[in-house]
């Protein structure tokens, strides 16, 4: 193989993480052992079924839920759609979904497709106005409340477990940004996660539905082992995802402590060394590995491109870098600067040298891009 090792300079784990080392061997072994249809009663089918059951139990164990509450889906996005819309379909009340203004687009698309939206605003740090959320949930037409565990763009942790929702309104939580890294919050009826964000393979989502939840499949059903799942299971991938999740949970005390301190360094150095910059999101109650900031008078696309030329891969919520050509709805809802935006998220093995290298390069680059427009 030529070129740098995979992941070097990649500061975009929130978009996708490389396969966790613990998952690689499991995946390779399962590719040979887990190819068959887990519903079949012959030897190969039983083998696939065993691996699928193992994956479900390992995932449940890592997340602190029951095995029969775990469904593997084709993606995290699909888990969000299924989880949220299934609660809407099971609702005895109306079909309005009260959700924060900073939910992932998967939630917003699901609501636009199959429910009605009642959006609740956020504070400047991205935390939802939880009083407004609870108040809005009391309306009789509200069937579901949706609140993310933590924000995928700015890292702010939401008060999911602290909500006191009126009696029977179920809560959906999109836990894709935090699953594995942080313990699941409490209080949800359904939740969703995405394996490629914790170092599992792509195209594995996790849907969690509480045993007592009123959830009805919003899409066509299928005849699988798990009645909530659709289509032929990717047994090797879900087993590898489960192995990665177990490993991430086992090592998260060490990794989170290191990441949290490294992000503190980035927050402090960027604010001190780059003029006219806004570092956003809750500085303390946040995802350990992620920070977002915006640089005044800087073209986000130019910043992404120039950082990439110097070996740093980052994401941006600026309009010019988005497929939609509109600024990030998260930054917009927070009322913070949307241009010149950088979202930096650490990969598992990130070190002080990695973040210092980024912080060393950034001020000069920002100055150079500003100079192009005479600022």
């Amino acid at each position: 193989m030529t070129g740098p090792a995979p992941g070097v300079g990649d500061l975009d784990s929130a978009s996708s993480a490389p396969l966790h080392p613990a998952a690689r061997e499991v995946l390779l072994a399962a590719l040979d052992r887990g190819y068959a249809d887990p519903r079949r009663l012959h030897r190969a089918g039983r083998e696939a079924r065993l691996l699928l059951d193992n994956a479900r139990e390992a995932t449940a164990d890592a997340l602190g839920v029951r095995a029969d509450e775990v469904t593997f889906t084709p993606t995290g996005t699909h888990a969000v759609h299924l989880g949220l819309l299934g609660l809407v379909r099971g609702s005895r009340r109306g079909d309005t979904v009260v959700h924060s203004a900073v939910e992932h687009s998967a939630v917003r698309h699901a609501v636009a497709w199959g429910a009605r939206a009642a959006e609740v605003g956020v504070r400047g740090d991205g935390r939802v106005h939880d009083g407004d959320l609870v108040e809005a949930a009391a309306s009789p037409e509200v069937g579901v409340v949706a609140l993310q565990s933590a924000n995928h763009e700015v890292g702010t942790v939401q008060p999911v477990g602290e909500l006191e929702l009126p009696n029977d309104v179920p809560l959906f939580t999109d836990a894709c940004a935090s699953m594995g890294r942080l313990p699941l919050p409490s209080g949800w009826a359904a939740a969703a996660g995405s394996a490629h964000k914790w170092g599992g393979p792509a195209a594995v989502g996790v849907l969690l539905v509480r045993k007592r939840a009123r959830w009805r499949n919003p899409f066509p059903g299928d005849d699988r082992i798990d009645e909530r799942s659709t289509g032929f299971e990717n047994v090797p991938a879900v087993l590898a995802a489960a192995a990665a999740l177990q490993a991430v949970v086992a090592e998260r005390d060490e990794v989170n402590t290191r990441h949290h301190a490294l992000i503190d360094v980035v927050r402090r150095r960027v604010a001190a060394e780059v003029p006219d910059v806004e570092v956003v999101g809750d500085p303390v109650r946040r995802l350990p590995h992620l920070v977002t900031f915006s640089c005044l008078y800087v073209d986000g696309e130019a910043l992404v491109t120039e950082l990439d030329r110097r070996g740093f891969g980052i994401a941006s919520g600026s309009a010019c870098t988005a497929s939609t050509l509109t600024p990030s709805h998260v930054l917009e809802a927070m009322g913070v600067l949307t241009h010149g935006n950088v979202r930096l998220s650490l990969q598992r093995d990130a070190s002080r040298a990695d973040v210092d290298a980024f912080c060393d390069v950034l001020p000069g680059l920002v100055a150079e891009i500003r100079a192009r427009v005479g600022m």
Binding site: D276, E278, S294, L296, Y297, V298, D299, G300, S318, A319, C320, L325, T326, P327, L331, E332, G335, V336, L337, T338, H339, G340, V373, G374, M375
Partner: protein, 80 residues
């Protein structure tokens, strides 16, 4: 149109993000302290970025209205 008494209106209709905010910063000194400066922009980011700029640069964001041709216009009062 009626509306606030704007001392200077910047035509940034066709400029992409972040040029409207850059133009605003460039021309702040062209109006007196206490006067109003407006930027007209179709760029959807301007609706967020002009108020954010005002907060960061300690200027007063007056609000959004419409230019004569109906384009979004963002009005700022120079405080310093």
């Amino acid at each position: 149109m009626s509306g606030p008494d704007v001392a200077l209106e910047l035509d940034c209709r066709d400029l992409p993000c972040p040029m409207p905010v850059i133009e605003l910063a460039r021309h702040l000194g062209d109006v007196e302290v206490g006067e109003l400066l407006a930027v007209v922009a179709h760029d959807p980011a301007a609706a967020v970025d002009v108020p954010a700029w005002c907060r960061m640069k300690a200027q007063d964001y007056v609000g959004e209205d419409l230019a004569d041709d109906g384009a979004p216009r963002y009005v700022v009062r120079r405080l310093g």
